[in-house]
Symmetry: none
C-alpha cells in the first residue's frame, strides 16, 4: 500500500522509455496501475484482463486498444524495468573509484546499497512480477541475462579484479566474489521487502553491518 504513491511518476517515465515518446492517456495509466497490482497479487497467468479492466475502471476492450495482447501488457510493464535494474553499475564512470584508496570499495558498496534499496522500494511490485515471470518467458529471461546479469557481472568483475591486483581481496575466483556480494545484497533486499515487509529496520546500520561482513569476508585477514 505504502509503495503506491510514487507510482505515477515512474509510469510516466515508462512512457518515455517506450519506443513511442507519446505521453500516456489517463486511462492507459490506470490500466498499468491496475495491471501491476493484480499481476503482483495473483501472478500473470492467474490474472484476468477483465479484472484488470474492472479495477482500472475501463472497458475490457480498452486494454486491447493499447496493448495487443495480455502478454504485451505484461512486457510493457516489466521490460523497462529490466534495464533499470543495473542501476548504479553503469553510473557515470567508475574509473575514479579504481584510482582511489581502499575505502572507496566500501563507499561504492554503500552507495549501491542505498540506491538499490530506494529502487526496490519504489518498484517493488514490478520487481516481484519480473522475478515471477522470468522463468516462464524466455524472451524476458534472455533480456535479463544479457542486460542485467552480464552487465553487472562485468562491472563488478572489473572492480574486484582491481582490488585483487592490489592484494586486498582474497584469492578466490572473481565469479565467486561477485556472487558473495550479490547474494548479500539480494538477501538484504529480500529479507526486508519480501520476507518481513512489516518489520521496521535500521537501514543505515543494516547496510553498514552487511558491508563490514563482506569486507571482512573478502579481505581474508
Amino acid at each position: 500500500m505504502s509503495q503506491q504513491e510514487p507510482m505515477e511518476q515512474w509510469i510516466q517515465e515508462l512512457a518515455k522509455l517506450d519506443d513511442s515518446d507519446v505521453k500516456m492517456t489517463e486511462k492507459q495509466l490506470k490500466i498499468i496501475q491496475a495491471a501491476v497490482e493484480i499481476f503482483a497479487e495473483k501472478g500473470f497467468a492467474g490474472s484476468s484482463t477483465s479484472e484488470i479492466a474492472q479495477r482500472a475502471g475501463v472497458a475490457e476492450g480498452t486494454i486491447f486498444r493499447h496493448y495487443k495482447t495480455k502478454k504485451d501488457l505484461l512486457l510493457s510493464i516489466v521490460a523497462p524495468m529490466v534495464s533499470k535494474l543495473i542501476g548504479p553499475f553503469v553510473w557515470n564512470e567508475f574509473k575514479d573509484v579504481l584510482e582511489k584508496d581502499h575505502s572507496s570499495l566500501e563507499e561504492f558498496l554503500y552507495d549501491m546499497a542505498i540506491n538499490r534499496i530506494k529502487f526496490t522500494h519504489k518498484h517493488l511490485k514490478i520487481i516481484k512480477i519480473l522475478l515471477q515471470e522470468i522463468p516462464f518467458q524466455p524472451d524476458l529471461k534472455d533480456a535479463f541475462k544479457r542486460q542485467v546479469g552480464m552487465k553487472i557481472f562485468q562491472r563488478l568483475s572489473e572492480i574486484i579484479e582491481y582490488f585483487k591486483s592490489k592484494g586486498e581481496v582474497i584469492d578466490v575466483p572473481t565469479q565467486s566474489v561477485v556472487r558473495f556480494i550479490a547474494s548479500s545484497f539480494i538477501g538484504l533486499l529480500a529479507s526486508h521487502f519480501i520476507l518481513m515487509p512489516d518489520q521496521p529496520w535500521d537501514e543505515e546500520k543494516e547496510i553498514r553491518d552487511m558491508i563490514q561482513f563482506i569486507m571482512n569476508g573478502l579481505s581474508g585477514k
Copy 2:
C-alpha cells in the same frame, strides 16, 4: 531433464510421507511425474490438467480420481517438500557441536552445504515449483514460514549465539548473521542450479571458498 532419473525414488518416498502408507499405483506415479514437469515448465496457473493427463498417458478423469482438485495435486507434490527443506538443521542433536572447537562451525556449514546441494539436485523441480507458488498460496506460505523459516532461524540463532558468546563472531545482530549465511548458501545453490545449470563446477572448492568467506566475514579480524 537430467534430474529426472531419481524421481521415482522420492515419489515413492512421498507416498510414505503421506498419512496413508498405501503404495502409489503406476498411473498415480505417472501423473505426479507429468505434473512436476509441467508445473515446473509453465507454472501452476499456466498448466492445464488436460496436458498433464496427456503427458502422463492417462485420461483426464483419472487425475481427479486421485486428487480432488488441481490444487490438491499441487499440494500433494509440494507439501511434503516443505518439511524436508529444513533437512540437516534438525539433524541428530547438534549439542555436540556446541561443545567442540571452533572448527566445528566450519564443519557444520560444510556438511550442511553438501547435504543441501544433494537435496537441491534431487528435488530441483519441486523446489522451483514450491518457490514459484509460495507467493500465491497463503497456506503454503504459512506452512513454509512456520516449518522452514522459523525452524532454521532458531537453529542457526542458537549456534551463532554460542559462538558470539565465545567472542568468535562479530557483534552484529544474530538475525543479520543468519541472513548472511543463508544468503550465501542460497546464492550458491541458485547460481549453480538455476542461473547456470549447464556450467560445470568444482563443488568441493566452491563450498570451501564460500565457507572461508563466511568465516572471515564473521570473525571480524
Copy 3:
C-alpha cells in the same frame, strides 16, 4: 425419517412384482434404499450413481451389476408403484356397492381415503419421485396414463353414473365430477404430506369434512 422403517417390507414386495421372482440380495436392497432417498432429495437428474453407491455402502460398479443403467434403477423403483396407485379402485368387486344405498358412496369414498392415505404415507418418497419424473420420461407417462389415469377414471365414472341415474348427483359431466373428487383427494394428500408434513392433523375428521364437502357439492340441493 419416520417413514423409513416400513421400507424393507415393500422393497421385498417390489422384488415379487418384478418379472424375476428371485429375491433381492442385501446389497441390492441397500442400493434401492439409498437411491430412493437420494432421488427424492435431489431429483433423478440431480443425483449421481456414485453418491448412491456411497450411501448404500457398495462399490460404484455394484449398482451396474444389478441395473444396467441409472435409468433402469429409477424404473425398477418407480414402475411397480405405478400399478399400485390405482389401489382400492380395483378392489374386489365393487358391484355390491352399486346395489346398496346412498350411504355407500360415502362409505366408498371414506375407505378409499383411508386406504390412499396409508398408501401415501408408506410410499411417500417414491410417489414424489414418480411425480417428479413423469414429465420427463415418456414411457412412465404413458404407463401412468394407461394404468392409472384410465383405470381410475373408468371405475369412478361407472360409480358416478350409477348415482346420477338415481338422481343423487347433479347433472354435470361425469368427467368433471371425477375431477372434483380426485382434486379433493389429492388436495388432502398434498396438503398433509407435502405442504405441511410436520403439522399434526386429525385424519378422521379431515376425511369426514372432505367427504361432506364432496357429497354436498354433488348432491346439488
Copy 4:
C-alpha cells in the same frame, strides 16, 4: 408448442419487473426463450447450457455474460413468476365484496378462475418449471411459501370467515375450506393444461360447474 406465441410479451414484462428497467437485448431474449423451452422439456438439471445456447443461436459464453450461473438463469425466469402467482388475490380492495350479497362469492370465484386460467395459459411453461424446481431449490420454496402460500391463504381465509359468520358456509375449519377451493381450482387447471392439453373444452361451462360444486359443497344444505 401452441403456447409459445405470446412469450415475447411477458418476457419484456420480465425485464420491467427486474430491478433494472433496462430493456433486454435481442440475444438475451432468445436465451430466455430457449431456456424456458428446454427447462420445461427436460427439467433444470437435465438441461445443458450448451443446448440452450445452441437453440438460442448464441455462443455458450454469451449466456454467462448475462447470467452468472445456470441457476441464475433459472431464477431470472422463475422468480418474477412467483409473485405474480397470487394474481387477483391482491386485487384492488376486496372489502366491497364483503359488503355485498351472497352472489359476490360466486362472482369472486368466477373472476378469479377466468383470471388464473388466462395467466396459466400465458405462462404455462414457466409455471411447470417453477413447480418442478420448487422441491429442489430451498430459496424458491421459501419465496413461494411466503409470497404465494401465505398471501393466498390469508386472503381466502378472510373471505371464508366472513361468509361463515353470515352462516352461509358450513362449520368446517377455514383451512379446510381454503383447501377445497384451491384444490378445485388447481384440479381444473391441471386437468386442462397438463393432463389433457389437446382436448378442447368449454371454459365457461367448466368454470360454472366447478363453482356450483364448490358453492353447494360449502353451503351445506
